[in-house]
């Protein structure tokens, strides 16, 4: 496999994963900037989306699930906001944060209860199983193209909705001046509920298309949840553009680092420093370091640019 081929293929995979991350982080960012709540249960909605889609696919197939599962997750999200979060809101931000934390814990247990502790067999539909095109010698699966298509369509729809429609304009106004919007006669709590439901539905959709590309198991929420937090911090709290850039960046970092087998001592050798091979740290490969790279990036961002890549405010 040539270098160019490696870079192109990994880049495609990275962008696919990054777009999926953006589906999650966009909802999280919208909810955060509107209500000031960091939704710990956001990744749990992603998990619910995958499990719902799996259940629906065993009954009637993949395509109805693609539509129904996100709507169901969105409805659950709206109910959670209406009857849970709003009650917790009375006790302040810490209570809200704790509520979503408890909710994530609870939802994982519910998934254990209904679908068991092992992964479920949620498969890619036959129509999407195959090769879309061949790049040099590597096959690019149709399903990855499908994921990209859905993500981009969602991105465009979100953009149009936020900037070109009446609801979008009210949401944007409510982001910064909720009191003024309320004074103008709009029902701000209902907008909050809609945004929370919408964000949950986006997370659910990400689960529907991500659950079968990766693996559908009870641990999937925790696995992706902390990465999404890193995305939101790196991009800048409350910035949709930042979340987009950070999603693609982290998607690429993760895919590249998993695919690279050079060790730290090899890297230092490139610049002419030869490391002692005996300590295990110099023999660590980039692949082994892959799980901590996102967090290292986050720490670096927090030290050198605390408001994130494109964040407007510093808190």
């Amino acid at each position: 496999m040539s270098n160019l081929e490696f870079i192109l293929v990994t880049l495609l995979n990275g962008v696919t994963y990054g777009l999926l991350l953006f589906m999650l982080s966009s909802g999280l960012t919208l909810i955060f900037s509107m209500m000031g709540v960091l939704n710990f249960a956001h990744a749990s909605f992603y998990m619910l989306g995958a499990y719902f889609a799996y259940q629906i696919s065993t009954w009637v197939g993949f395509w109805p699930g693609l539509l129904v599962a996100p709507l169901l997750v969105g409805a659950i999200g709206a109910l959670v906001e209406r009857y849970g979060l709003r009650a917790a809101h009375r006790y302040g931000h810490v209570a809200e944060l704790l509520f979503t934390f408890g909710l994530a814990f609870f939802m994982e247990e519910i998934v254990h209860l209904i679908w068991g502790r092992n992964s479920v067999d949620y498969r890619i539909p036959d129509e999407l199983d195959g090769t879309l095109f061949t790049l040099f010698s590597t096959d690019f699966p149709i399903y990855k193209g499908f994921m990209m298509g859905i993500s981009v369509a969602m991105l465009v729809a979100l953009y149009v909705m936020l900037t070109r429609t009446r609801v979008g304009l009210i949401i944007q106004a409510a982001l910064t001046k909720p009191d003024m919007v309320e004074a103008l006669g709009h029902n701000v709590p209902r907008i909050f509920m809609l945004v929370f439901g919408g964000g949950s539905a986006l997370a659910g959709l990400a689960g529907v298309i991500g659950g079968n590309a990766f693996v559908t198991e009870p641990g999937m929420a925790a696995a992706v949840g902390s990465i999404v937090f890193v995305v939101v911090v790196v991009g800048g709290l409350g910035s949709l553009g930042g979340a987009f850039v950070a999603s693609i960046l982290l998607g690429c970092i993760q895919t590249f680092s998993i695919a690279m087998t050079v060790s730290l001592s090899d890297i230092f050798a490139l610049v002419g420093i030869s490391l002692d091979k005996t300590p295990s740290i110099s023999r660590l490969t980039i692949t082994q370091l892959a799980p901590i790279l996102p967090y290292l990036l986050m720490v670096a961002i927090l030290i050198f640019r605390p408001r994130g890549l494109m964040g407007a405010r510093e808190s």
Partner: protein
């Protein structure tokens, strides 16, 4: 400060608690009981150290387990390092080494995490916690990989006055001593100017800054101290179980200590201790009966967040105030009246959850009909009967509870109004 600390009622309370701790194994010295008590003691220190952050300084951390884990691993390595050379005294003091290790880790990481308070701190602590947990599997020399690091706490066969820390009950007394010392230390911290400043930083950082304090420094020092005490708790785990795995510093442990502290009550010094007792009992005793204990735990937590965000400690505190004002008698009967339908609803709900678990976890293989045992009778779950009964009990309990609560809340509000009226 000295005088507040040595007030007579406080001395009585602390002495009483120490006495209870010493006498408990007299009543029941079964292995389960002793290990339960050991775990409670360790978790008390851990939860108290967590409350130094959350309750005192207002820092919500999702990665406190890294300090606990650091203490545990450091203690284990120290134990293995002193090997045959050490004595019992060394072993008893080892948790201090764990505390110092955690303190050093706090000095290193705290500088990054405490730059900001609030939501940002919560996220950074989560990220740092994940980072440490992920890197723990990368360095098997230090963290022992999947198997963890194990050791032997009996390094002195003869021991001092027969104390070798071989029997679990001797470790229990060591834990009691450490709980006492650590709790005293943390209580003393709340009375120091630094502890008071931490409260100010929690409540109004702008004003604290304006008075001339550097809020970041206050947060930093409090985090380092809290890490120190968490490290002591970790060191005691290492001695108790003689094995430390990477699980001690992962997100699950961080979450558990948060839930424990919050359910107990973050507004009172003794709150986290109540939480530790409650949660460990749930974990070990309820966890021994049903697989669903985490579900119950999640429900309890959500209920507390929505209905009693002050935790159990605040509920106790309110009763104490009512009692002191002679109003407790007015409310108490209505607790009973509400308690009966409440218990009914709980029984129905537990039935529903247990039946769902039994019906869905077909471990006996395909085709076998799931059953549930109640009072020695087996009921098949493929009929509507048990489900309807449980649902009916739940709903009836709920309806009656709503009815009873109406009266309870009226009495309750009346009592509270009188209480506040008296204070004016």
């Amino acid at each position: 400060m000295i005088s507040t600390f040595f007030r007579r009622d406080r001395l009585l309370l602390w002495g009483g608690m120490l006495l209870v701790g010493i006498l408990l194994p007299r009543f029941s010295s079964s292995g389960l009981m002793i290990s339960l008590l050991c775990q409670i003691g360790i978790m008390m220190i851990f939860a108290l150290s967590y409350n130094v952050l959350l309750g005192q300084t207002g820092l919500l951390s999702f990665g406190h387990a890294i300090y606990y884990g650091a203490g545990a691993f450091a203690t284990m390595h120290l134990l293995n390092a002193i090997g045959k050379e050490g004595s019992v005294v060394h072993v008893a003091l080892l948790p201090l080494g764990g505390g110092v290790a955690a303190l050093l880790l706090g000095i290193l990481l705290g500088w990054v995490t405490t730059k900001k308070a609030g939501t940002t701190f919560a996220m950074i602590s989560l990220g740092i916690g994940e980072m440490v947990a992920a890197s723990s599997l990368m360095f098997p020399v230090v963290f022992g990989g999947e198997a963890g690091v194990s050791g032997n706490r009996v390094i002195d066969k003869i021991g001092l006055f027969g104390v070798t820390f071989g029997p679990q009950v001797q470790v229990y007394y060591l834990i009691v001593a450490w709980v006492f010392v650590a709790a005293m230390g943390m209580f003393a911290l709340t009375q120091t100017p630094l502890g008071r400043m931490a409260n100010a930083v929690r409540d109004n950082p702008e004003r604290a800054e304006f008075v001339g304090y550097n809020t970041q420094w206050v947060r930093y020092i409090m985090l380092v101290l809290s890490g120190f005490f968490a490290g002591i708790a970790g060191g005691l785990t290492a001695l108790t179980y003689e094995i430390v795995t990477a699980e001690t510093l992962n997100a699950y442990t961080s979450g558990a200590v948060l839930l424990m502290t919050f359910v107990g009550g973050i507004g009172f010094f003794y709150g986290p201790m109540i939480g530790a007792i409650l949660i460990v009992i749930m974990q070990i005793l309820v966890g021994g009966i049903t697989h669903a204990w985490q579900l119950y735990f999640g429900l309890l937590f959500l209920f507390m967040v929505l209905r009693a965000p002050g935790g159990f400690a605040s509920l106790i505190a309110i009763q104490r105030r009512l009692y002191a004002a002679g109003l407790f008698g007015r409310v108490a009967p209505w607790y009973l009246v509400s308690g009966i339908p409440g218990a009914l609803m709980l029984v129905g709900l537990i039935g529903l959850i247990e039946m769902t678990y039994a019906a869905l976890s077909d471990e006996e293989g395909e085709g076998a009909i799931a059953t549930i045992k109640l009072l020695g009778e087996d009921y098949a779950l493929n009929t509507f009967g048990p489900w309807l009964a449980a649902a009916a009990v739940t709903l009836a309990g709920y309806a009656l509870l709503q009815l009873a609560n109406r009266r309870l809340f009226r009495e309750w509000n009346g009592a509270l109004a009188t209480l506040q009226g008296d204070n004016d």
